[in-house]
Amino acid sequence: MLRSGRARAGAFAAALMAAAARPLIPAPAPLDLPDILVSRQLAQQAALREGDVVTLAADAAGSGATRFRVGGIYEPTPNPMRFTAKRIEARMHLPDLQALKANKSDPNSAESIGALNIRLVDPADVDAFATAVTDRAPGTSAGPTARAAGGSDPFAVLERFHLAVAIVTVLGSTAFLLALMVMRAEERRETIGIIRLIGVSQRSILLGVLVEGLLIATAGAAFGILVAVATQGAVNRFFQWRYDTALVFVRVTTAIALKSIALSVPLGVVAGLVGSWTLLRRDVVALIRR
């Protein structure tokens, strides 16, 4: 993407304009006017319908006021960088926006754009291309649209934040799980003592504990994933309602579900083994003594 500091316009045919104080004035009769698309939020706020005629201006004083016909209403593409902003937007053809924003004292303003989206033949050339553009056209900046891996962009930072919170949660859960397993093992002290008295080997008991831990941990992980799947809709609906956006905030993917199982099942099994190990090491008589 290539940017310069001129009008706050978007890329070709995707001009973006925030409605200023005065600019939107619906009128009843549709004429032979240029079409614009208005965002759902703008349509709701200004009670606009398809076919309405609106007047848009470059500023609150009404500079360059032009009439347009609402050709349609669109749901803005969710943008995580702007999800807290209210999407009061309209899209129009680039020449219409340039005419609207044209400054009579600056003939170049009618040909100005804010950004260019460029598809390179070889995406690997992005750095060389950006350097070439910046060197040849002072005042512009060029950069890749792809997110840099592990960088300091807000989503990479948020990902690290969520990962840190998840690690703390797992640590807390581990302590909780260990406490439960120790109690559970203690509860079965006599049973294990009797089993050992009748000749069942420690290895068999350990294997039993292992299988039991595996079953419980798998069931727990599956239940957790089911809860997450069931509640993700509610979480998304709440935040989508709160910020009036179609952005998806929570998504339980297969990879995430597998990661959860990969983490929780071994953790559950190990906690079970640690809990039982203290009993298995004890003398049989000590186990059945009351």
């Binding site: 609150a60 807390g172 909780f176 439960l180």
Partner: protein
């Protein structure tokens, strides 16, 4: 022996179990404490940042936003008019632009900077001077523009007070650059609003205009005003709004409220969600541990009841046991949560554009009070079911079952 003593002996009888339970509560409590610090941290920190800058009213153009501001014309006249208001003590003009500093080091050709033009010259406001002097109030005619550079830029370009510094600005909307302007570094300072990834150069409004090749430009992006003691920022903002209805004036309270409604709301909500989850988790943890503990001690409880212990006494014992686990864990959670907040704050402050002095997690006395209150309520609620279980225990049947088993 009172209920506390009995609860202590019960907990101490299984030290490993108690240690694990306390550890679980401590870790979860630490997360809760951290999230409580996050819920208001940005607001408190942002407010402190605004207040320490020495101005409590901000005036911007009627169009744009607090971040994307249109320039205000005839700024000097506006500043003088605002300064004459009885509610206002002093006024400063600010202009900002992106520019490039051409440094003295051969290996560094140019670095991107934020160029700030201001009429402010006081130390301790928007900057702290580390070396050199602040911007002069009266700039001598014909000399190079005086400049204050941030400590990071000074280190990067090896600048000292007295060093020459070339600045090149870009004209917005044109694919061309102006010739560089040479200024003189008069001071090196720390800018309060400088982001971690920013390098800042501040100069006078005249110096700023000359960098753009114009000497008579009289525009400002923002007008800062300090209200007179006794008048208050709200009254000053209202007076400025009455003076110039075409502009927008905000007191610090209003600025904070705007950010609270938009930019900061995500972190507030994340903190609410995670606080609720950690509380639910702590509830489950304590309730499960106490219930299992009671189930293991049914015979003991029945024996105590048979000896004449009242239901209330048994309930008090369990409540004290819960209080010991949650209380000890909750206390341990405070330093643990503080350490966790430092780590998480360091992660979140890696976001681009965040002022270096802004913090996401801030410790306030009310956060500790809320933490204690929430954990206390959780501890009490978590002990309700085990208490009910112990209180309705049939004494004879339980003792019989205990003997038979």
């Amino acid at each position: 022996m009172n209920a506390w003593g009995l609860a202590w002996r019960t907990v101490a009888r299984n030290p490993a179990r108690a240690a694990l339970a306390v550890s679980g509560v401590a870790v979860i409590g630490a997360l809760l404490f951290t999230m409580l610090m996050l819920s208001r941290g940005l607001l408190v920190s942002f407010r402190a940042l605004l207040d320490t800058a020495g101005f409590d009213v901000r005036v911007v153009s009627g169009q744009g936003s607090m971040i994307h501001r249109e320039p205000i014309a005839d700024a000097s006249e506006l500043a003088a008019a605002i300064g004459r208001l009885p509610e206002v003590e002093r006024v400063a003009l600010v202009r900002t632009a992106g520019a490039v500093a051409l440094g003295g080091r051969a290996e560094i050709r140019a670095v991107d900077i934020a160029l700030v033009g201001t009429t402010e010259s006081a130390i301790g406001g928007v900057w702290d001077i580390v070396r050199g002097s602040p911007l002069p109030r009266d700039e001598p005619a014909g000399g190079p523009p005086p400049m204050i550079v941030s400590t990071k830029l000074a280190a990067r370009l090896r600048l000292e007070p007295g060093s020459p510094l070339q600045i090149r600005v870009f004209l917005p909307g044109t694919a061309s650059a102006l010739p560089p302007t040479e200024g003189r570094v008069v001071g090196i300072g720390g800018f309060r609003f400088e982001a971690t990834d920013d390098l800042t150069v501040s100069t006078t409004m005249k110096g700023f205009a000359s960098a753009f090749g114009v000497v008579d430009a009289d525009e400002a992006d923002i007008v800062l005003a300090a209200s007179r003691p006794g008048a208050g920022s709200a009254a000053a903002a209202a007076a400025i709004a009455a003076l110039r209805p075409d502009l927008r004036s905000y007191s610090n309270d209003q600025v904070v409220e705007q950010f609270n409604q938009n930019a900061f709301s995500y972190f507030r909500q994340i903190s609410v969600v995670l606080s609720s989850m950690t509380l639910a988790f702590a509830f489950l943890l304590v309730a499960t541990l106490l219930t299992m503990s009671v189930n293991q001690r049914l015979g003991e409880v029945a024996a105590l009841r048979a000896l004449g212990f009242r239901r209330r006494r048994i309930a008090a014992n369990l409540l004290c046991e819960s209080a010991l686990l949650v209380g000890t864990g909750g206390l341990a959670a405070l330093p643990l949560g503080g350490a966790l907040a430092v780590v998480l704050d360091r992660i979140l402050r890696q976001m681009p554009g965040i002022p270096e002095r802004l913090h996401f997690f801030v410790l306030e006395p009310q956060t500790v009070v809320l933490h204690v209150a929430l954990l206390s309520v959780t501890g009490v609620l978590a002990s309700v079911y085990p208490i009910w279980l112990a209180a309705r225990l049939p004494i004879a049947a339980t003792l019989r079952r205990e003997i038979i088993s």
